[in-house]
């Protein structure tokens, strides 16, 4: 980045950080600028990388074949139907585009989750324990899996053995969420370190660049 660009980036960074003191016009300006630039960028990328090669080129700019025109016309019509939602009375035709889109991703999800998640994880769960002291860990993993599944089974009341199992499952869940919380703190602190590094190194040159 050039010096001017670095100063602009630093100014905007400090505008966001000013929220830590209290809400103020600098923060609100930066926030609104972010929304506008992000939305504009996303639109421009979708136009250049999706609409131009898949709709504009086959239908208008060429090269054309009847097949390419037909294959481009269907998504173009569906896309225009999606846009028609802007007018309340066109919500009906827009449903065709939504139905197609939802059908596609539902059709991908069913075998994808079955193969990639459910079967693979169940298959790994139902295997002999590791030898030696590893058997304790394997037993704990199996116990944790069964008790957490027991906790998430809400069709029967959590009473008796089911209730005891669900309670143990809660403990496993708390350990997992504690681990997730610790890592979430790590992630947010990493982002903060990066911004402070930018301010101290790239803007104020208080830290060497190498």
């Amino acid at each position: 980045m050039s010096v001017v660009e670095t100063w602009i980036a630093a100014f905007l960074t400090l505008c966001i950080f000013s929220f830590l003191y209290r809400d103020n016009p600098f923060y609100r300006f930066a926030e609104h600028l972010f929304v506008g630039v992000a939305a504009g960028y996303l639109l421009a990328v979708q136009y250049q990388d999706v609409i131009v090669p898949n709709v504009w080129m086959p239908l208008v700019a060429g090269p054309h074949t009847p097949r390419s025109i037909f294959l481009a016309l269907i998504p173009a019509v569906l896309g225009v139907l999606m846009l028609a939602r802007v007018w309340e009375r066109m919500a009906g035709p827009a449903r065709w585009a939504i139905a197609f889109y939802v059908g596609i991703y539902s059709g991908i999800a069913v075998p994808g989750y079955l193969q990639g998640q459910i079967f693979a994880q169940l298959s790994d769960a139902v295997k002999p324990f590791a030898p030696g002291w590893g058997a304790i860990n394997s037993a704990l993993v199996l116990l944790g899996l069964l008790t957490v599944l027991a906790y998430f089974f809400f069709s029967a009341p959590h009473r008796g053995i089911h209730g005891a199992g669900a309670r143990i499952g809660t403990w496993f869940l708390m350990v997992a969420f504690g681990a997730s919380f610790g890592y979430t703190v790590m992630a947010r602190v990493s982002l903060l370190i990066s911004r402070v590094q930018f301010l101290l190194r790239d803007w104020l040159h208080l830290i060497p660049t190498t």
């Binding site: 539902s106 809660t170 350990v175």
Partner: protein
């Protein structure tokens, strides 16, 4: 009016499931083409979202509601970046790319970086060991925070190994159960949508 789209969902969803099982290259080519159509629809849906964004901020400006000058900033940025991106492209070296690196990149990173401060404040005020479960969560979180960074090994050589055990055994067990539950839920809702049992995605009927 709704039965047509429901039938379309059924046909498309069933086709995608069937194409998963057919390895023939022509079937996979059809599969890929259908997915390209979905990305085109998504692009138009984003245009719809931008129109909605425009309408929201334009109304604020028209009615001079509180904070309306900031809406001018949003709309100005939206128009300028979109126009430049459509005209010149968004690749490396373009004006839009430089605007993105100068404006969006620092703003997005800093918004997330703010969370570090709020996490610290919230942890101090609200993270309380009120019962067995909360204590387990709190103790694990503190052990992870200390044990997974350099200072943890300084305090106790066995810290990294112990936190690795926490991740490899209790965390794995719970996350596996969650993954199986999420998978079952996704398959169930996918089938309900394809079979027309779940129609909420079509919006309210008149």
């Amino acid at each position: 009016m709704r039965s047509g789209p429901v039938i379309l969902t059924f046909l498309v969803g069933t086709a995608l499931i069937a194409l998963f099982f057919i390895p023939h290259h022509k079937a996979q080519a059809i599969n890929a083409e259908l997915l390209v159509w979905a990305t085109v629809i998504y692009a138009f849906a984003l245009i719809l979202g931008s129109i909605s964004l425009w309408n929201t901020h334009a109304r604020k400006i028209r009615l001079k509601t509180e904070g309306w000058p900031y809406s001018l900033v949003t709309l100005f940025a939206l128009v300028v970046v979109t126009a430049l991106g459509v005209w010149q492209g968004v690749g490396e070296g373009t004006v839009v790319s430089r605007i993105y690196n100068m404006v969006n990149s620092p703003l997005a990173s800093t918004m997330f970086a703010l969370l570090a401060f709020f996490i610290a404040s919230a942890a101090f005020r609200a993270f309380r060991a009120r019962n067995v479960e909360a204590t387990l969560l709190l103790v694990t979180a503190v052990l992870m925070m200390i044990g997974r960074v350099s200072i943890g090994e300084f305090i106790w050589k066995g810290f990294p190994g112990f936190t690795e055990w926490l991740l490899d055994v209790p965390n794995l067990a719970a996350k596996r159960a969650i993954a199986i539950g999420v998978g079952l839920g996704a398959v169930s809702i996918g089938l309900k949508i394809i079979l027309g049992i779940e129609r909420g995605y079509l919006g309210r009927s008149r």
